[in-house]
Symmetry: C2
Subunit: 280 residues, 2 copies
């Protein structure tokens, strides 16, 4: 047998989007260092016909790999999951395993319906989330002032420190209205935050970054510019940090953090619950 580029094939199978199966399955796989998997999503597996098709694919992979695939399943329907479990694979029933425990604890039966989690259940909550996305988009980079008062949080920091991806993530993932506003050299010269922000000071959250990383990020955009020079980055970061400290703005370094980690930290600090259920 020729060496394969992967150790196992991993399937993420669901009667819905497969997002939970994939997220959670990947989380489990990440516990095994150096394990290489080929990852296949099988969303919307909501009929016996599709379940049989999945079995065929899984069995083919078992044959090609010479090793049993791993199947991470959030199938809730017993008939459909029964079919998939006939495949030659290690089947991990992510939902059923815990639903039984919860049924015992709660003293009631689960609906065991087709996975509904990522469907729209409350149109109002869903609309609130779409509104949050639109808000974050239209309040990116200090574009709009008029509605800043309705923001849940206003991220501030130097250009390219991670404000935009974080704002969008907060709105998409958590339904949080996150605006962002840049701190620029003119602000440092005046030694004042942008004036419009003072009335919303309790909503400000600062992002910062090491000058070295900022230099890298800016250099990709505008190589060899004064804007991207390490010297200028050092200067801006130092002044932004000292301004945020002076103004009592909470601050977090984004340098080695993922958007998820930055967002989780901000949520903890601003002590906001999700406006809508998380849609991860």
């Amino acid at each position: 047998m020729t060496a394969l580029p992967h150790d196992r094939t991993a399937y993420f199978i669901s009667d819905g989007t497969g997002i939970t199966a994939e997220t959670f399955g990947m989380s489990l796989l990440s516990q095994f260092d150096d394990l290489k998997t080929r990852n296949v999503r099988l969303p919307f597996t909501d009929s016996p016909a599709k379940a049989h098709e999945a079995v065929a694919r899984i069995n083919l992979a078992a044959q090609n790999d010479g090793r049993r695939p791993l199947v991470f399943s959030t199938l809730a329907n017993p008939e459909i999951s029964g079919i998939v479990q006939t495949a030659n694979a290690e089947y991990l029933d992510l939902i059923g395993t815990f639903v039984q425990r919860l049924e015992g604890e709660l003293g009631r039966k689960a609906s065991r319906g087709v996975g509904q989690f990522h469907r729209i259940k409350s149109p109002d909550a869903y609309q609130a989330r779409i509104d949050a996305i639109n808000f974050s988009l239209s309040h990116d980079d200090g574009q709009q002032h008029a509605e800043l008062g309705t923001a849940d949080v206003i991220l501030v920091g130097v250009s390219r420190c991670g404000k935009t991806p974080t704002s969008l993530y907060l709105s998409i993932q958590h339904g949080i209205k996150a605006a962002n506003y840049p701190l620029i050299p003119e602000d440092f010269d005046r030694m004042r935050l942008p004036e419009v922000l003072y009335q919303y000071k309790h909503k400000l959250f600062g992002l910062t970054i090491t000058p070295e990383r900022l230099h890298e990020v800016r250099s990709e955009r505008r190589p060899d510019s004064r804007y991207a020079s390490l010297e200028n980055c050092r200067d801006e970061v130092r002044q932004a940090e000292s301004m945020m400290r002076r103004e009592g703005v909470s601050m977090l370094s984004t340098t080695t953090k993922s958007i998820e980690e930055i967002a989780a930290t901000i949520l903890t600090v601003i002590e906001m619950d999700d406006v809508v259920p998380p849609i991860v």
Copy 2:
């Protein structure tokens, strides 16, 4: 005892962001119709001191609720999870339960380290995701043409049919470079797609919506305008759909679908794997 607004308090506890614990826990809870939970995130629980603090909070909720809280845990460290398990609660060990099964199947030990899933593991893959977000932002609503050739997918459809949230979600969640381009009355008059799109026809994916829903969405933005009128919405949707059919562009109705469902469908159709591991 006064009636509480919730049946149980649910904790989502993790040594990392808590995203997996929350997503998966919410997924399990959604199996129980009409169950009302008060949801509390306890991220970054990565020391014995924080674990003891969590126990105190959980026990207080048990006392206040008069019912045991539910604890959805992705704590990997045995010492920390051991402390949390002393709380008066139903403790669901989301990771450990399956890690044991996987250890058996894979014939190797899990690292059982502190949750690393949402950390940046590969700076290159992470940068690719940030690049995708920036791409989707700068290619929103047909803003830029120059780099359309590097898009993974180009969403088309009438104004306000859901292109922007879907593009941003695809980039943030899946690292997909998703551009979007509006179909406007001028295109319908000419009976041609916007000219620039013809060379990227294989990348196009159409979104559509019922005229009634479109009328609602547009009315929020511009009430009583011709743009938002039901008659105009009917006209635009009919013409957009017939154009997409004529041009052989795959099409999906967004009317009753969540962003997650739309994105999962698009990924299935364009048959793209995540550029980066999902970060849900």
